[in-house]
Symmetry: C2
Subunit: 207 residues, 2 copies
Amino acid sequence: MMIVIEVRDQHDGDTRARPHTGSDVRARMVQAAATLIGARGVSATSFTDVIEASGAPRGSIYHYFAGGKRQLVAEAIEWTSEQVQAHQRGCDATTTSGVIEHFVDLWRQIVTSSGAHAGCPLAALASDPYADEPQLAAAVERGFEAWTALLTDQLGSAGMSGSDALAIATTTVAAMEGALILCRARGNVAPLDAIATQLHQLVTAGT
Amino acid sequence: MMIVIEVRDQHDGDTRARPHTGSDVRARMVQAAATLIGARGVSATSFTDVIEASGAPRGSIYHYFAGGKRQLVAEAIEWTSEQVQAHQRGCDATTTSGVIEHFVDLWRQIVTSSGAHAGCPLAALASDPYADEPQLAAAVERGFEAWTALLTDQLGSAGMSGSDALAIATTTVAAMEGALILCRARGNVAPLDAIATQLHQLVTAGT
């Protein structure tokens, strides 16, 4: 998700011309898949789309992803999950509102950098027939759980009681997923900004 | 969305055997399309799926929907939007928390009646390539705006100030959209229940 700009920059900058290692290509394909799945859904994202968006050589898919589309989708989900966690682990706020603001900032960045077009690959998979694949459904569940657990821990460290922290963490994750949808529908970041003020109210009241 | 049970009941009860009017068939097709689009997305929902789920005679699609899939999808979006508004217009609560609870109850019912499998057709369309169709994107935007405006009015009538009411209404719609996603990923209604407690906190603090 975060990588929307990066992928586009690489594309615009014609990185295809410079030499790159296999792991570069592989990583770019996973990132491009995550961006496309978030924006269009799993069913509507083809290998061809991923090849084009990542600038990877044709034939790369089965070279790097022997498990085919399922494997690429699973890695895109796991990569997204990890990107969000990495961002949030970088939070050095000592207040509950600081913790929430750090998380919200990531989603605001996703909306604004994509012109309100980006979506979340985890949400996209949850509402796709591919969610019938137990391995993929489990990856989505693990991702949401990891984000919620991390926020719960951070809110706890900032002084919030355990049960409040879990409920507020869950609400924050849900509100950001919903915000992404409303921002896409509206074509701007206004819904997310309104929601951010309310999450701020919530944590301020709760501590 | 609400109609998940109804569609299934009709199906299980073999309504195909009883005579029905053209408008019955047409309405069932729109409802089935809404349920399928919410659960699987627009791209992965075929006419054949809609025919099977609604029990409509083959050939009904172009008979009733001369505009093809686009028309059926547009009507499914509008029907969903109207169902949610109809439910919420039935709210006779005089407190802000009563207004929010009435809205949340609809979404809880959607989650529980579908075994946490239902999704929202508006959210599904927002993250589908079909969102590139201006008419469909506009229908989604109108739907979210209508829900938000109705909640804002009801919160206002229950005594909340205008700007707070709009921000809380936006947050409630986003939180329910996010809740549906988290409930699908978890396979149960627990995330929605946690979120409901926080929305309750929010409106209680706000009035």
